[in-house]
Amino acid sequence: MEKSLVIAPAVLQIFPKLNRSTYDSLDFATLSSMKKPSPSTSAKSVSTEKDGVTSIDMLRVLVDSIKDYAIITLDPAGRVLSWNPAAERLKVWKAEEIIGQHFSRFYPKEDIEKGKTDMELKAAERDGRFEDEGWRVRKDGTRFWANVIITPLRDPTGKLLGFGKVTRDMTEQRQLSERIKKQTQEILEMATVPVVPVWEGILLVPLIGTLDSQRTQHLMERLLQRITETNSPVAVLDITGVPTIDTQTAQHIIETISSVRLLGAEVILTGVRPIIAQTLVHLGIDLSNVVTRSSLASGLRTALSLMDLAVTPKAVATNSDTQWKTTSQS
């Protein structure tokens, strides 16, 4: 048996006394011959037995010890030739159960129907490599998100001997990245259009930053949604944090206000600073139909009075409290 594997000598020093393991299913000699080492690399390679340990043993130990990658080999038709413990852990199949079976056992039904397995082998054979990320199936039918690399294995004459298949479980990474994506989206939405209930029946929308069409569209949808959800008859739209207003933005705001009125609620536009007031008049934008206030505070006061509510100093409130107590006692 010819052994011409390229293995770092350092690895051999770490494991000086390894016994030959019995991996009958995989012919490592054939595998190794595919490396076709050039004269310079073969000089460094370990090609003979050293203290009873061969490089092939080392490779077997490597393949057996790796925990994160399922490393298996397939024959040219796609039937499983070898199986490592990581593969068993990942895909649940035991070596004796799966060896000899077609590797489509690891694929979801819809992929098999699409002929994905054949396509992958063909692509690997043609391009020298095939990489894919997608759903794979365990023995029990559960799915995991896998990164798969398929490499064609050839003898020195170039004849196809089979394929090497390295699979990694990426489910956690995928879940993580999806969660991050979702959170980012949520934060973005919150930041673009916050709709906050400040009182029973009063919603506050503090807008900060430039309002583009997309944002105002989003604002309209969210505000109307929240108004119906919370059954709030008043919404305070605060534009203190909006640097400038152009005709289009003003138009969008007017549209939003009209929509809110159709629902049966009222909008108070607050935070109209001098510069905004000047711009609106110069642009000839008619907001005479809209209740506008310069400050959020006066806007809130208007909102409260619309709801027939008033904020009174505490002393007065305590007085009425005692009055109520005396009347209830009498």
Partner: protein, 124 residues
């Protein structure tokens, strides 16, 4: 289809409920039914509940607006209640208006409005 509109007299008001997808004959029937009931019951106003309506076209909007004017001429008041957000957005985007008709979030709130009299901050 015309029978899909329900007109119920509640105290001195008419509670009118529209079906989810009113077609033109239904909309046409609305006006006649409402005005007829106004006269028959000598009602003080109309609460038009459109909370089930999923589409609002220009014909419906115009009919509602006209009917409201007619109700006003007959000495009544019209409040439209329960328009859905999606309907309101579409209506605004295609430029539909309901004139100066009063609106309410729900029939419940519309009833509150009838006991409190008309209120508008625009007049304050």
């Amino acid at each position: 289809m015309e029978n899909n509109i329900s007109v119920i007299k509640v105290r001195n008001l008419l509670l009118v409920t529209m079906p989810p997808d009113p077609d033109d004959p239904t909309v046409s029937a609305l006006q006649a039914k409402v005005l007829d009931a106004m006269e028959r019951h000598q009602a003080a106003g109309v609460l038009l509940d459109i909370s089930q309506v999923e589409t609002l076209d220009s014909f419906f909007a115009r009919t509602v607006s006209e009917t409201a004017q007619m109700v006003t001429l007959m000495g009544g008041r019209t409040i439209i209640a329960g328009m859905r957000p999606a309907v309101a957005i579409t209506a605004t985007q295609i430029g539909l208006t309901l004139g100066n008709i009063e609106t309410a979030l729900t029939v419940d709130r519309a009833l509150d409005m009838t006991t409190q009299g008309p209120k508008s901050i625009r007049q304050r």
